[in-house]
Amino acid sequence: MSAVLNEDYYKLLHELQAIDFVLVELNLYLDTHPNDTNAIQQYNHCAEIRHQIAYQYETKYGPLKHFGQSLSGVPWSWNESPWPWQV
């Protein structure tokens, strides 16, 4: 794990957290508005952005998730510290 406490690490995590929150909001909104095409387009757009941000984070700082939900570098490091609650 590279230096964790640098500015970019937290900026990336903050962006990821924000885009995840937007996706949660849109998901809950779409549960009750299944035919709102604008919201669906925004949802798909945000999902792509989330994918890019996560990929950007994982190439620099290691996998976010395990069990195949994130690509792993060498060495195997998903169980290394810091854990999400320690960051």
């Binding site: 962006e15 924000a18 929150f21 909001e25 849109l26 909104y29 009750t32 508005h33 709102d36 919201a39």
Partner: protein, 75 residues
């Protein structure tokens, strides 16, 4: 920032109350109480702001301040 979603009421205080009376109580009336069904295409916050405010749509935002700061505002 005056929070216009806070409403106040004065509970009844009787001579035989077991505990010291609470003279003024407040409650929050967030926007979703007044919107039966969320209309589509409401204006939205940016992702970072949405995370800060706790909702994607400014019209649904409710500050929900802590109760003790409300006390002075209501007197």
């Amino acid at each position: 920032m005056e929070n216009n979603q806070i409403r106040y009421y004065k509970p009844f205080v009787g001579p035989f109350d077991p505990c010291p009376p609470i003279r003024l109580k407040s409650f929050s009336t967030p926007p979703q109480l007044f919107i039966p069904f969320q209309p589509p295409n409401l204006p939205q916050f940016s992702p970072i702001e949405a995370l800060k405010y706790g909702t994607l749509w400014p019209s649904l935002f409710s500050p929900y301040d802590s109760k003790n700061t409300r006390q002075e505002a209501g007197d």
